[in-house]
């Protein structure tokens, strides 16, 4: 726990009500959504203005105290778990103002603690659209989204958080304020530091403000569900759709185990014997939507889709997407521990990856369900286990090791969207190179000489 003197200093600086030092409070910031051991921080601070944030960072820097910034703590890679028990956690939920939504120039300026879904809803009230929609959007924050470069179901057509970041303002480790980007569509002033902050996982700076791009909402959309006997065919259909130059906004895959589990739970009447289903949505101008849907259907049939369903009304469409939304919740109900992974491969390699995941699971006698953003090649093999069963959990770890080996061999990546944190840092060199690690560490040390920002995350410092 932090010294009484330090606690009092912070109470003077940002108010007693924003400094949390009790054991119970501190321990509730010792974990995030990753399946990793908790580490209790020494103190928790909640600045309520940019100025207060700067003051906190400076004071911690001057005292050489490590710090970890935390949005909603929904990251799946341990990014918000303190490096050690000296660490101070800085919360961003005191910085949660939407400063501006500009309908003429199509941008918004927000503080980092703004909740993604709430932001999207405010924007929608002005008939504008903020597409990034991670599954955690009801609680995750814009700061966390930028720092993890979060993506969502619409990533295929609309891209991910980085594609909407026009500018940032952030504090470096010494407490200096840094700005990059602007409210203009074009801006080439200085280094693209905004790009650097994307997926930096709290290691380079603490974002205090972001300028986000907005787009006009699509006028129409249409959903389809295709049923395949073989995963292989579904995967080939994915590649076929893209090759036909149709870019759906969403293209999701559910494997057999996931289908069965979801159907057991929802009794939705899903095709239980199907090897896989694809859920597809096309959007845009009504004429384009009709064309695209037709083209998609053609490709699906050409790739041996056993059936293609088009929901006839909004209610049926809702039910269709419900199957996808329920994938994780339903799998999570099966066993005490759910380890959701994030293996991502080029789209053409999805069949090989799916095959490998199932073989690896069988070899280690583990249950796995795979679903994910097939259109992006971003799969979420989800291992079901009980982490208290040491042997079983060890087998899960081994399986994950092997799975990433396969993903990398297939020219894939360790993480499509959940980040590296501490959970995957040991594989970084395998995907990149020794030089990449050293370069990244040099960069970090130059910007954060005392190694105070999330030092153990990503590549270490």
């Amino acid at each position: 726990m932090a010294s009484q003197a330090l606690i009092r200093d912070f109470e003077d600086l940002i108010g007693k009500e924003n400094v949390f030092s009790s054991e119970a409070d501190r321990q509730s910031y010792s974990y995030d959504s990753a399946v990793l051991a908790p580490v209790v921080p020494s103190l928790v601070l909640r600045p309520t203005s940019t100025e207060q944030l700067g003051v906190c960072v400076k004071k911690l820097y001057d005292n050489g105290i490590p710090m970890t910034v935390r949005g909603a703590g929904t990251n799946l890679s341990g990014g918000t778990i303190p490096d050690n028990t000296d660490t101070v956690v800085i919360l961003t939920n005191g910085l949660n103002r939407i400063i501006e939504i500009n309908s003429d120039d199509l941008y918004a300026v927000v503080e980092p603690g703004v909740i993604t879904a709430q932001f999207a809803a405010e924007v929608a009230k002005k008939n504008l659209f903020y597409p990034p929609d991670p599954g955690s959007q009801a609680v995750s924050t814009i700061g966390g989204n930028i720092a993890e470069n979060a993506g969502g179901l619409r990533g295929l057509k609309y891209g991910v958080t980085k594609d909407y970041l026009m500018g940032v303002e952030f504090f470096d480790a010494t407490g200096e304020i840094v700005k990059s980007g602007s409210r203009t569509v074009k801006c080439v002033t200085g280094y693209n530091l905004a790009g650097m902050l994307v997926q930096s996982e709290g290691t380079l700076g603490i974002i205090s403000q972001a300028i986000l791009k907005l787009v006009p909402p699509p006028k129409a959309s249409k959903a389809l569900m295709a049923v395949f006997d073989e995963v292989q065919d579904a995967a080939e259909a994915v590649a076929g759709i893209i090759a036909a130059h149709v870019v759906p906004c969403t293209l999701e895959l559910l494997d057999n185990n996931t289908i069965v589990r979801v159907d057991d739970y929802t009794k939705a009447g899903l095709p239980r014997e199907a090897g896989a289903i694809l859920l597809i949505e096309v959007d845009g101008h009504p004429a384009q939507v009709a064309d695209d849907a037709e083209a998609v259907e053609r490709v699906l049939k050409a790739n041996r889709a056993r059936a293609v369903h088009v929901p006839k009304d909004a209610e049926e469409k809702f039910k269709l997407w419900e199957a996808r939304r329920m994938a994780l919740p339903v799998l999570a109900r099966c066993r005490p521990t759910t380890v959701l992974e994030d293996a991502t491969v080029p789209r053409s390699q999805i069949p090989a990856m799916m095959k490998a995941v199932n073989e690896i699971a069988a070899k280690h006698k583990l249950e796995v369900g795979t679903f994910g953003h097939a259109g992006d090649g971003n799969l979420h093999p989800t291992f079901l286990c009980d982490k208290r069963d040491k042997d079983e959990f060890h087998r899960v770890e081994e399986a994950i090791d092997e799975m990433f080996d396969v993903a990398l061999k297939l020219h894939g990546t360790l993480s499509g969207e959940h980040g590296i944190g501490t959970a995957k840092s040991k594989w970084m060199e395998k995907e990149t190179s020794r030089g990449t690690i050293l370069f990244s560490q040099r960069l970090r040390r130059a910007l954060d000489p005392k190694g105070l920002f999330n030092a153990t995350k990503l590549v270490g410092i």
């Binding site: 321990q27 929904t74 999570a332 005490p336």
Partner: protein, 431 residues
């Protein structure tokens, strides 16, 4: 309980259920307490982690844990939307009981839960003595909700605006009821709940009127008392069990097909909690509680599902607009959602308009309201803003505790929105 070790052993027994929490954090989206405080320790994820750590004796401060556990409305919103379906409410209730057993119950709570509430005659007497004295302490707020406040009792009640106690409680007005069943007809036990009996008597009368209109015979014995949920939420399972025993005895021997309450909290207690705790008294009581639970039904659900009350069709041109607040116990525990809306729509003089977030907790939370009035008001303000934004003239709920909270926040804001029970709205349309 003698020591922290024993305490942690009991908590360890909850381990299985706590482990099911995958720490996804999705409960943050729906937790009213987290919405108001923004503190991780206040949301289900934080509380489960706290209980888990306490179980492993990492925290040596059970008072702090008791305090954190108390910062919860037990609204069940987290459980209703938890992806892996963690039985959060069971864990919280049990953890409160365990921590409470270790720390001991607050003397005031002990007096209320174990001496006052299990003795209906003493409870009723206290309230009857209190009712005429209200005039001395309370004065009208002048708000459209007809609320009163008591500046002299601020130390105890805070700046609350509330409905005055009824001059004559329901049980005094009617005595014991045991009406004769019509040939082939239905007979119900009517459980008005403390608030239906002592504060919202007009609401309880409206229920009786509706039941009579539909030729339903009513059984309302003497000697009913609190259902026990306030005691249980305070960690006093013994107090709750005592109160349940009194009620089981009062209802014993009655011939009825359903037991109905206009209070969502009472209904869910009878339906879900009595059978769970009755085994602690004995096998006979357990059987009785199980039988009652099978017959327990929310009055809205009874009107719609059993009596087939239906919406009246197009509302009148000058219909009063009413918006509906989904009480947590009704929606999240009992799954009663469409029926209260249908009951209101059965009166063509009203038109139902939806507010934003109708199922977001209003912030009452039973005894939470007593101990965390500041948060309760803060949470209530969001509900008030949604009610006002709906532009409805009336806000209705299916739970008197929510009605009390709605009246408090609306009255403080001097809003011209009246608060009614859904059944009162329907009753108005009956001759």
């Amino acid at each position: 309980m003698s020591n922290l070790h024993e305490l942690s052993q009991r908590l360890m027994a909850l381990d299985d259920r706590i482990t099911a929490c995958m720490k996804c954090g999705m409960c943050q989206a729906v937790c009213p307490m987290f919405g108001a405080s923004g503190m991780e320790a206040d949301v289900a994820r934080g509380k489960l982690a706290l209980i888990d750590n306490l179980a492993h004796e990492m925290i040596q401060d059970p008072e702090a844990v008791a305090d954190k556990l108390g910062r919860c409305l037990l609204c069940g919103s987290c459980q209703a939307s938890c992806p892996p379906g963690v039985q959060i409410m069971d864990v919280f209730m049990e953890a409160r009981e365990i921590v409470n057993a270790y720390l001991g119950l607050h003397p005031v709570k002990k007096m209320i839960f174990r001496a006052l509430l299990p003795q209906p005659s003493v409870f009723n007497l206290a309230m009857r003595v209190g009712a005429p004295m209200q005039g001395l302490m309370f004065r009208s707020t002048g708000a459209p909700q007809g609320t009163v406040c008591a500046p002299m009792l601020n130390f105890m009640l805070g700046d609350r605006h509330m409905r005055p106690l009824a001059k004559k409680p329901l049980h005094v007005r009617h005595g014991a009821l045991d009406e004769r069943r019509q040939p082939g007809g239905i007979k119900v036990a009517f459980y008005p709940g403390c608030m239906g009996d002592k504060m919202y008597v007009d609401m309880a009368e409206a229920c009786l009127k509706v039941l009579r209109h539909h030729n339903v015979a009513v059984f309302m014995p003497k000697g009913l008392t609190c259902c026990g949920i306030p005691a249980l939420s305070s960690g006093d399972a013994d107090g709750m069990v005592k109160q349940m025993k009194v009620n089981l005895k009062a209802l014993d021997g009655g011939d009825f097909d359903y037991i109905l309450s206009p209070c969502g909290s009472c209904t869910s207690t009878v339906k879900e909690l009595w059978p769970r705790y009755a085994g602690r008294i004995g096998a006979v009581e357990k059987r009785k509680a199980d039988q009652l639970a099978a017959k327990a039904m929310d009055i809205n659900a009874f009107l719609v599902d059993v009596l087939k009350v239906q919406p009246a069709g197009t509302p009148a041109g000058n219909a009063t607009s009413v918006t509906y607040h989904d009480s947590c116990h009704l929606k999240k525990s009992l799954g009663v959602v469409s029926q209260p809306r249908a009951v209101m729509a059965a009166n063509p003089a009203y038109k139902v308009v939806e507010m934003a977030e109708p199922d977001r907790c209003c912030g009452c939370g039973g005894s939470f309201n007593l101990f965390h009035y500041d948060y309760s008001r803060k949470i209530g303000q969001r509900k008030r803003d949604n009610v006002v934004a709906s532009q409805a003239e009336v806000v209705a709920a299916g739970c008197p505790a929510c009605m009390m909270q709605l009246e408090d926040v609306l009255s403080h804001n001097k809003d011209r929105v009246r608060v009614m029970h859904t059944v009162e709205i329907y009753a108005e349309s009956l001759k």
